[in-house]
């Protein structure tokens, strides 16, 4: 696996907001690798830093954010890449679906415009060709009556349709990597199931690499090859999805898995069974950030931060002094 050059390689990435009161370190020491055509699920509870990571990859971090480390896409370093270079990559090679895609569509522009402008800003394409491509993309994401949609405004579409349009926009220029930040969270359960099925179909059809953000392990488990669990801005566990789901080695992952299994509705409170909460933004603990909530915490956990280390031959890595025994 390590022989093949990864499509995306993130190393030692940190995102902080030094100007915030108090200064916040939203992400620290994040490491991940993604091969072409593979999918990675980013999980963790609210505030874990999932969106910050998703945004940092295509250089979309908020103004005021300081991003450090290395983010390589097809071997090319993206941190401190020129704005023109990032513009050329965004949309064309890296598709992005923001958290709350309902708000991600411009209210004053027709669906057709929002689809074709992506294509036309990257390729010399006349209006008719762009329109044809837009129609084809809407069909691909299973939007009914696609021709009529091109002339409609976002407020004329249902939530599920808007989500499909957002996906179409992200994919229209055939990127090799799609980053989707909680693409199903704002939707009701049946619509969500449809979108999930669509993601599965698209992955197979388009040979797309996918970074999928979710706070629900089960959602990610069904769609992804690999899982990366974030807690308080750090990676606590990563590895093949099946292994992480079936045999979580970090106590936080185990609690997440238990919570996910006990709740059918993905919109429920997935972490209701884990008492306590993450350290407040701006608070950095000397030891393991999960120690205050961990059933296995010992003195060492509070004093010393556990490094991310391999625990199994399959590539699973865990940041814990006392990992759970393998099942």
């Amino acid at each position: 696996m390590s022989a093949e050059a990864p499509l995306l390689a993130v190393l030692g990435v940190g995102v902080s907001f030094p100007g915030a009161r108090p200064p916040v370190r939203a992400l620290a020491d994040v490491e991940l690798r993604l091969l072409a055509g593979r999918s990675l699920g980013l999980v963790g509870e609210s505030g874990a830093g999932k969106s910050q990571l998703a945004l940092a990859i295509p250089g979309l971090s908020a103004p005021g954010a300081v991003v450090e480390g290395s983010i390589r896409f097809c071997g090319e370093e993206l941190i401190n890449a020129s704005p023109a270079r990032l513009r050329a990559l965004r949309g064309r090679h890296i598709g992005f679906i923001a958290q709350d895609p309902q708000a991600a569509l411009a209210p004053h522009l027709k669906v057709g415009t929002q689809l074709t402008e992506t294509l036309r800003s990257h390729h010399a394409l006349d209006a008719r060709a762009a329109r044809a491509a837009a129609l084809q993309m809407l069909e691909r994401v299973q939007v009914p009556a696609p021709a009529a949609r091109l002339g409609q405004y976002p407020h004329e579409l249902s939530g599920g349709l808007r989500q499909r349009v957002s996906i179409a926009i992200a994919l229209i220029a055939s990127p090799s990597l799609l980053i989707a930040d909680e693409p199903t969270t704002a939707l009701d359960v049946t619509v969500e199931a449809g979108i999930r099925a669509l993601f599965l179909k698209l992955r197979q059809e388009l040979k797309l690499a996918l970074v999928l953000v979710s706070h629900d392990l089960a959602v990610v488990g069904g769609l992804c090859d690999e899982i990366l669990v974030l807690y308080a801005g750090r990676v606590v566990e990563s590895g093949p999805a099946a292994a992480v789901l079936k045999d979580p080695r970090h106590h936080y992952t185990a609690a997440l898995a238990a919570a996910s299994a006990t709740l059918e509705a993905p919109l429920g409170l997935p972490l209701a069974t884990i008492a306590g909460s993450q350290p407040a933004p701006g608070v950095e603990l000397a030891g393991c950030a999960f120690a205050p909530r961990c059933p296995a915490a010992a003195a060492r956990c509070h004093a010393e931060r556990p490094p991310l280390a391999s625990v199994a031959a399959g590539g699973a890595r865990v940041a814990c002094h006392f990992p759970r025994a393998s099942a």
Binding site: R87, A103, A106, Y153
Partner: protein, 309 residues
């Protein structure tokens, strides 16, 4: 189109209320149009009042006024007896519309780009400078800037005439239009800046950036149209402010606009003149507000949808 027409008809009741209120208010002030002419013999005064219908009960006068107004007749001026109010307005309105319209156009043409530029240069030097100067522009009213401008450019530098109106030549227009435009221009610049900054922080702008669009397209196509909504909404009040300011400006620069005779008219109880000009001002403001509403719908499909529902 039918919507615009419906809205236009909708102005009639509003205007009716304004006319009625103005009619009552004008009459509430003590005295009458012929009181101050000491030389007037009582029988002549009575004759005059009869000629202008002032001897009739107030209700009858009101109905008669409305009847004439329905035909577009604002009646004779009670103090400038050689003129009808329509004639006086026909002389003054083009002058006022010219300087008011130019002032509004200038405010938009300069205020919008300034505000946009400040928003794009956010918190850097240009932005700070603009914010400071516009704060000054808003704080200083036209009755201070007008004499100052006249003093500097008219008297010291002798670049432009201090006063006068020779058929509305450009050199006569510059100072009054600039003095009139400054507060509105400054306010529009600040409003545009705030509005652009607000829209620029919305999720769909980040989404536009995620598509790899050029910065120019993001600003012009994604940010600016929605940001113009609040700016357009302010145009109605802005026009009203400019009209009010033009009263002062016309006096300072000696322009034969709508403002001329209005103050004297009010002091002399020239009922028809005051009423006529108030009605014209009110109609202008109402029409402009309507125009602004229609323009906003053009920029925002959600407004159009609400309207159809």
């Amino acid at each position: 189109m039918s919507y615009a027409l419906r809205r236009l008809l909708g102005l009639v009741p509003t205007l009716f209320i304004i006319v009625s209120l103005a009619f009552v208010l004008v009459r509430l002030a003590p005295g009458g149009p012929f009181d101050q002419e000491q030389t007037l013999a009582p029988e002549i005064k009575a004759n005059l009042e009869r000629a202008y219908g002032l001897d009739r009960p107030l209700g009858e006068q009101y109905l008669r006024y409305l009847g004439r107004l329905a035909h577009g007749d604002l009646g004779p001026s009670m103090r400038l007896r050689d003129f009808t109010v329509n004639e006086l307005i026909a002389i003054g309105l083009p002058v006022s519309l010219t300087i008011g319209g130019l002032a509004l156009a200038l405010s938009l043409l300069i205020g919008l780009p300034l505000g946009l530029g400040a928003a794009l240069a956010r918190r850097r030097g240009l932005d700070r400078l603009l914010m400071a100067t516009t704060a000054l522009g808003i704080a200083i009213p036209p009755y201070v800037t007008a004499p100052l401008l006249a003093l500097v450019f008219g008297i010291y530098l002798r670049w432009l005439p201090v006063a006068g109106w020779e058929g509305g030549q450009l050199r006569d227009l510059v100072l009054p239009v600039v003095a009139l435009a400054l507060p509105t221009l400054a306010y529009l610049a600040r409003l545009t800046r705030a509005s652009v900054l607000e829209v620029a922080g919305l999720p769909f702008v980040r989404a536009a950036r995620a598509k790899g669009l050029s910065e120019a397209r993001i600003v012009l196509v994604h940010v600016l149209p929605p940001a113009l909504g609040p700016v357009l909404a302010y145009l109605g009040p802005a026009a009203a402010g400019i009209l009010a300011g033009s009263l002062v400006i016309e006096t300072v620069f000696g322009l034969p606009g709508m403002g001329r005779f209005l103050v004297e008219g009010a002091l002399n109880r020239d009922y028809t003149l005051v009423l006529g000009k108030v009605i014209v001002y009110a109609t202008l403001v109402l029409l402009l507000n309507l125009l602004v509403d229609l323009l906003r719908a053009l920029l925002d499909p959600r407004i159009r949808a609400r309207r159809r529902a």
